[in-house]
Amino acid sequence: MNLIIKMAWRNLWRNRRRSLITMSSVLFAVLLAIFFYSMEKGSYERMIDNMVRYSTGYIQIQDVLFEDEPSMDHSMLVDEHINGILEELDDRIDFSVPRINHFVLVASDRITRSAMLMGIDSAAEARLNDVSDRITAGSFIEDNDKDIVVAQGLAEVLKVVTGDTLVLISQGYQGVSAAGLYRIKGIVDLHIPEMNNSTIYMALPEAQWFYNAQDRLTSLVIMPENPQHTRQLAGDISERIDTEWYRILTYEEMLEDLLALMQFDIAGTMVLLAILYIVIAFGLFGTMLTMLLERKKEFAMLMALGMKRAQLAIICFIEAIIISLTGAFAGILVAIPFVVYFYHHPVQLSGDFADAMTGYGFEPILPLSPDPVVFVSQAMVVLIISIIIGMYPVYSVFRLDMVKARQK
């Protein structure tokens, strides 16, 4: 085996320039692929993280009908039954956040829009996200506040500033009309454009009063100790809860459309990466083909001397694997510092591109994901390509006619 590895290794450096060019092509392909994939994964991870932290949480307990018919009549009471389950699973639950969320019609003196009113427990919400730190004007609401905080995008649409008053109109619990005048205490800049254009925060007791839904919630957000165990925890809550009255939703179910869009987008990127890799595969194949043509006589000589076809095939295969994996690992090594840097310092987009991103509901930044899956997946792709291409010389060696090859 030593002889085979030695010969494969030295063969690679017989035509140093060609080997280096081939390795470089693999390097750049892997670098580009990692960059694209990491950027896409990073954007989506950030979007999911933002949605989870600012909107859905990892798990929600809701009234069984609320998801399909979101009205105050489908709000719920957090009774002893739910509290008992939360206590039982206390070691796996980090904390819970009570919310009352419902659509409202919001009007300034001249403009009317629909918005999402979020009645929140500011202390619990602070454990979930940094919304109170993202105030751009005024200050954030406290639990006994009667005022509201408006997201910046919505404030701009309504052309309002702190101190202005907004009219809120909605439908309360059991058909009661919910209406009120609320002073804007602060303006908050949210990460998610969609939320930034439609969210109003109100203290939970005030929101319950507004909707005439005392002690009621539309959802109880559950944050697991370990987010990776979300599905398992949701399952365990489901097993214990009275499913005739309550429903357990994970963030994957609540963000189903977003995740489907992500999968679709990722599939598009995969097509792009596949094209990139096909180009590289042809380059690699060309190198293998040239190498085979150049060395047919040599192969025939080696076989005449007694080297078995299988041994020769292994040499060729090792050469293909070394050349592509060296390129792939070099690509990964070069990519790591880039990815880590842009993970900590995401590119902030500006101008039309930023507007376009915002228009699609994306935050106008390009964060990169340092997830090891990004690197390992590219190494695996290159490995698979090189195995497939490495099979060609193996096939050729097994078909080589010794006599004809020596005559050429």
Binding site: L3, E298, M301, L305, G306, M402, R406
Partner: protein
């Protein structure tokens, strides 16, 4: 003397050409241990085909090649690989050495495939390189050796594993006179000292003049089989 190779009614016809080519026609020959034989004849007379067939590189269309009481014409390819490795040494006209291995590694190559012990292998390889006058070139790669030196390394490699016989396909064709004579001296000496059977295909008069047996092939058939008394 012991018979090393025996061919009986050996024929080879190539049918993958526009007109079938009869490269060998009913060749029946015997080669004894220690013989120094030149197979001569014009281009296309079947010299290389004959060496290919008795070397197990090509299969005869008809006839038998018996080596060590075994008919190699009936062997499977995998058996032939092993047979060649254990019994036959080859010296080719060109593309003779493995370019990525040093002279020492090239000479050890067959012994390495035979899985001989490292110590034994190195000792024998050094001894053979010394015999061909290249003991100072152990770690040199083929590209840094002259054509004559490369052929000497090839001869050392062919003989190092102590095969039953060595087949050399026009080994002097690419060499200048001095290198050719030098190579032939070495081969003749090793033939005597190691008692190894050497069979050359050649149309180089320098080789023919050294051979103790000269077989002339014409149109794939044996035209003459002459023996000479030479040192």
């Amino acid at each position: 003397m012991k018979t090393v190779i025996k061919t009986n009614g050996l024929s080879k016809t190539y049918t993958n050409t526009a007109v079938p080519v009869h490269a060998l026609k009913n060749v029946t020959l015997e080669f004894k241990e220690g013989e120094f034989t030149a197979i001569v004849g014009p281009s296309g007379s079947g010299k290389t085909t004959f060496l290919n067939v008795i070397g197990g590189l090509d299969k005869p269309t008809e006839g038998h090649v018996v080596i060590d009481n075994v008919d190699i014409a009936t062997m499977k390819e995998s058996q032939l690989f092993d047979f060649r490795l254990r019994h036959i040494g080859f010296v080719f006209q060109a593309y003779n050495l493995i370019p990525v291995l040093t002279a020492m590694e090239n000479v050890s190559f067959i012994m390495l495939l035979q899985k001989q012990s490292k110590r034994e292998m190195e000792k024998r390889a050094k001894e053979m390189l010394e015999q061909v006058g290249l003991s100072d070139k152990l770690d040199i790669r083929p590209s840094q050796l002259s054509g004559g030196q490369q052929q000497r390394v090839a001869v050392a490699r062919a003989l190092a594993s102590k095969p039953n016989f060595v087949l050399a396909d026009e080994p002097t064709a690419n060499l200048d006179t001095e290198s050719a004579f030098n190579l032939l001296d070495i081969m003749a000496r090793l033939n005597r000292e190691e008692n190894i059977t050497l069979i050359f295909s050649t149309h180089d008069q320098r080789v023919i003049d050294r051979a103790r047996r000269v077989i002339t092939l014409v149109d794939g058939a044996v035209d003459k089989d002459e023996h000479f008394e030479r040192n």
